[in-house]
């Protein structure tokens, strides 16, 4: 570890005042996490989980903590409108809840949706378990969790979403995080707690946008719990501006027969890191993840997927595509762990990547850790370029080379959206994907 306090980033994050809640356990937990962050500092390349994502550049920057004017910043609602997503909406600007931009008045039965800041003013006790749980849950080395700690210390707002048992929420819930240009380069944090009761179902859209190109640092930590038989369709669209440094950690727990279908699209950002840690803790739980990351320019996009099979007859499938262009770097790790006794686990993962430029780089690392024998586990990863024969086929039918390339690259990425159930959203997202590809 480098000297933690000597890094401008660490010093500036520690400089920001902790949000005061007036709740003894929460304030204590925030102080502890801040102290742990101060002691541990930032992870360097020797920490395995950060091997391919260097924080040297980011570590040298300073960000002002919190935005006093967040409540009045002008944000164009068109910036986050999505076709097919017309349900309840919560909007956060620079980490602060904006009631004027949100739509959460007429909630369907069984859905409870409010900002964390509000939830804490009411009965904070139900949140105690999630918010005071130590950030470190075992197998990750300490400094690897630096951003989770500073988030636990500094996040004053976020989403608290609960779906009552057996409630079927049909309209998709839209969670919007806006990074808005401010007087100084900002750091902001958000903490989300999401729970689906037994047999409940929900479709959720998590959305990152920016207004302005200013550099920012945002950390977001989400806990998602799916009780027995719950179903979640979760779509993440990350379309932040090129100045945004986004560090996210999602923890997903699936109880018996719960099912989650996740689609992730990483389009924007400067340095983007997403840790997704899923635990299949109930029998017959199912997790399906799909995602595409398409860094260009000097973007660095790092996705770390860790799926733990801990119960009988659980299933996971993962299908991720990466396209790196210009001087960009795409990093992917897809780890599957089958715990002792998790018989009947069926896990498959595949990550295919295209390199479009001689100065771009892809680092991929699929992993299997298997401790049970009645399992099926497979993974595959490739890095390469478009298939020559497919290109030839298209050209022989009169399609010019550049167009043929664009067509095949678009098809390559779009494959991850095939099973997105919301048709209007699917079409919109694939439009965004194609727009991102080089002409």
């Amino acid at each position: 570890m480098s000297q933690p306090a000597s890094l401008p980033l660490v010093a500036s994050l520690l400089d920001a005042p902790l949000p005061a809640s007036g709740i003894a356990w929460l304030d204590a937990s925030r102080r502890e996490n801040r102290a742990a962050f101060a002691a541990g500092g930032l992870p360097d390349a020797r920490v395995e989980a950060w091997k391919y994502t260097a924080l040297r550049g980011l570590g040298q920057r300073s960000f002002a903590g919190g935005d006093a004017a967040a409540a009045t910043r002008v944000v164009d609602a068109a910036a986050f409108a999505l076709p097919g997503v017309d349900g309840p909406r919560l909007v956060f600007v620079n980490g602060v809840f904006r009631a004027d931009l949100s739509a959460s008045d007429a909630l369907p039965d069984g859905l409870s949706l409010q900002p964390l800041s509000q939830a804490l003013r009411g009965d904070a006790e139900p949140l105690r378990f999630a918010l005071s749980r130590p950030a470190l849950v075992g197998h990750v080395r300490e400094a690897a969790d630096a951003f989770v700690r500073i988030n636990a210390a500094s996040a004053g707002d976020g989403v608290v979403l609960r779906v009552a048992a057996r409630a079927q929420i049909s309209a998709p819930v839209h969670l919007v995080f806006v990074g808005a240009a401010a007087e100084a380069e900002l750091a902001w944090h958000a903490r989300n707690v999401i729970e689906l009761g037994e047999g409940a179902s929900l479709s959720l859209v998590e959305h990152y946008v920016s207004s302005g190109e200013q550099a920012q640092l945002a950390t977001l930590v989400s806990d998602i719990e799916l009780r027995e038989g719950a179903r979640l369709h979760h779509t993440v669209l990350q379309n932040a501006a090129l100045g945004a440094n986004l560090i996210r950690r999602s923890g997903l727990r699936l109880h018996a027969r719960a099912q989650a279908l996740l689609h992730v699209l990483e389009l924007g950002g400067a340095l983007v890191r997403h840790d997704l840690q899923a635990e299949l803790i109930g029998d017959e739980a199912q997790l399906h993840t799909r995602g595409a990351f398409m860094p260009h320019g000097r973007q660095h996009v790092d996705t770390q997927l860790a799926i733990r099979h801990q119960a009988l007859n659980t299933t996971s499938t993962s299908n991720w595509r990466g396209v790196a262009n210009d001087r960009a770097r795409g990093v992917f790790r897809g780890a599957i762990v089958v715990a002792p006794g998790a018989d009947g686990s069926d896990a498959s993962l595949n990550n295919k990547n295209l390199l479009l430029s001689p100065t771009a780089e892809i680092d991929t690392k699929p992993e299997l850790e298997i401790y049970a024998d009645e399992v099926k586990a497979a993974h595959g990863a490739t890095v390469g370029q478009l298939d020559e024969r497919s290109l030839f086929y298209l050209r022989s039918r009169g399609i010019p080379l550049t167009e043929a390339r664009a067509l095949l690259t678009a098809a390559f990425c779009r494959a991850v959206l095939d099973d997105l159930p919301n048709k209007a959203l699917r079409e919109h997202l694939s439009g965004l994907l194609i727009a991102q590809l080089p002409a």
């Binding site: 395995e48 391919y52 002792p340 006794g341 990547n353 390199l355 479009l356 430029s357 001689p358 771009a360 780089e361 892809i362 680092d363 991929t364 690392k365 699929p366 992993e367 299997l368 850790e369 298997i370 401790y371 049970a372 024998d373 009645e374 399992v375 099926k376 586990a377 497979a378 993974h379 595959g380 990863a381 490739t382 890095v383 390469g384 370029q385």
Partner: protein, 492 residues
């Protein structure tokens, strides 16, 4: 023992019960004898004096002593690697004796202690006349010194230099000085640095330009003395257009304490040269309770320095309590080829973290990795590999296949492949699967009257076929037998 049998019988619940299997429970390590001959050696401990003493015993020139000391000083500054998926008890480097040799140094094969020859006889090394029959030239390394090299004359006629490393340092200092440490530098990693400081012997092979080595070369390593570590150093240089196939086998007696083996192997292939390096590693793996066994921390690396050169590693790893080994190829020359074929079997409490690195630097370089891991008992077996396509690796190609087979409920099989690609015209492909022997396969065999043990061994053999095919014939037979012995008691 009872406890072990209980564990094993619980694993049997998934397969069918078989009373006959109980008889063959417990594994036999047929190479686990010791040889009573007078040994001379250095007392345990390691400091600059030890390094100088080893160098002095071997009558080494000044530059070699300095080379060792430099490595030793570097080693002192290095942290022990802890990234592998291994539980290693702390090693007391001061408790190890860094040099052991038979007391009377043999001058020729005829003078070699008969007890020693008997040892090799028991191991089935065709050292003497048997060598002639087998047509294999053998350099046998016993603890720390090389005890005799067969077929020297025939090889010399072809221009091939094949001798122990100590002899090579004395007789061919220019070649040794030019290539030693050029593939694995002294400070490459913790164990390579230690080896560079205290290596006692090993094999040296030099195939001059255009020569195709007339026979397969072979080394047999054996750790005999107690409390010793074996640090051998092998260097193989194939000049332009030369070809060589080299085999290596290893055993050690049964002892309760762990013994350290930290070898370094360097291969250099110049233009159009080909080196094929095969290993059957059967160091003592410890008993069924995980007591004793060899710590096998080996650095093996080949350098395809010339265009159109080829280096191929084949390994069958059944022994050692802990294996930490990543035979690698640096593909420097354009159109050079690297291959890695591996079968790693772990049983009882063995741990293996093994794999390869393919570093593509040259244009149109190709590499192929086939790794088969088999875990049984309470063992842990990991594949760890790196495929790196550097910016200049225009049109380079890699294909990797890693399969793991689990036998029993308490073992682990892991895969950690790293792929780093910086060239858009390079293609990297990786595939891995993990499964157990399927009930269908077992049922099919049993229905045709094949006993359970034989069925498992047949299926495992089929699983490994792709790798065994790459081994020279004698080794393929030995490897197959080794797997059978090693798997005894794994089912049932």
């Amino acid at each position: 023992m009872n406890e072990i049998m209980n564990n094993q019988s619980s694993t049997a619940a998934t397969l069918r019960d078989n009373a006959g299997v109980a008889e063959v429970l417990g594994r036999s390590y047929s190479a686990g004898f010791t040889t009573e001959i007078e040994m001379t050696g250095l007392p345990p401990g390691l400091d600059e004096g030890t390094v100088r003493a080893i160098s002095a015993i071997k009558h080494e020139p000044e530059w070699m002593t300095e080379w060792r000391l430099e490595a030793y000083r570097h080693w002192l500054t290095m942290p022990k690697p802890d990234w592998a998926k291994l539980n290693i008890d702390p090693i007391d480097y001061q408790a190890i004796s860094y040099y052991a040799a038979p007391k009377v140094a043999p001058k020729s094969l005829a003078e070699v202690d008969p007890a020693l020859l008997e040892t090799y006889e028991k191991l089935g090394v065709p050292l003497h006349e048997r060598a002639a029959l087998a047509g294999v030239a053998v350099d046998a390394v016993f603890d720390s010194v090389s005890v005799g090299t067969t077929f020297r004359k025939q090889l010399a006629e072809a221009g091939v230099l094949f001798c122990s490393m100590s002899e090579a340092i004395r007789e061919y200092p220019d070649i040794v000085r030019k290539y030693l440490g050029s593939v694995v530098p002294t400070g490459d990693n913790f164990f390579a640095a230690l080896n560079s400081a205290v290596f006692s012997d090993g094999s040296f092979v030099f195939i001059p330009r255009g020569v195709r080595c007339p026979m397969e070369l072979s080394t047999y390593f054996r750790i005999n003395a107690q409390n010793t570590g074996q640090f051998e150093r092998t260097l193989i240089v194939a000049e332009e257009g030369a070809h060589v196939s080299y085999l290596e086998g290893c055993t050690a007696p049964k002892r309760d304490e762990n013994q350290l083996h930290a070898a370094v192997v360097e291969l250099v292939a110049l233009e159009k040269a080909q080196i094929k390096y095969s290993t059957v590693q059967n160091w003592y793996p410890g008993d069924e309770n995980g007591v004793g066994g060899i710590y096998n921390f080996v650095t093996k690396r080949g350098d395809c320095r010339g265009d159109d050169s080829k280096i191929s590693w084949t390994q069958v790893e059944t022994g050692s309590a802990i294996t930490w080994k990543y035979p690698s190829v640096v593909l420097r020359g354009d159109r050079s080829v690297g291959e890695f074929y591996s079968v790693a079997l772990t049983h009882h409490f063995q741990q293996a973290d093994t794999g390869t690195k393919m570093i593509h630097l040259g244009k149109y370089t190709k590499s192929k990795i086939v790794s088969k891991g088999i875990s049984a008992g309470r063992s842990s077996n990991s594949y760890r590999g790196l495929v790196k396509m550097e910016k200049g690796a225009e049109g380079a190609r890699n294909y990797t296949q890693c399969d793991s087979l689990l036998i029993g409920k308490k073992c682990g099989a892991h895969t950690f492949p790293y792929m780093e690609v910086k060239n858009p015209t390079a293609i990297v492909e990786h595939e891995a699967t993990t499964s157990k022997i399927s009930d269908d396969q077992m049922f099919y065999c049993r229905a045709r009257g094949i006993p359970e043990e034989d069925a498992v061994s047949m299926i495992v053999d089929g699983f490994c076929k792709q790798v065994f095919r790459e081994l020279p014939m004698e080794f393929a037979v030995e490897a197959k037998k080794l797997l059978e012995v090693s798997l005894e008691g794994a089912v049932g």
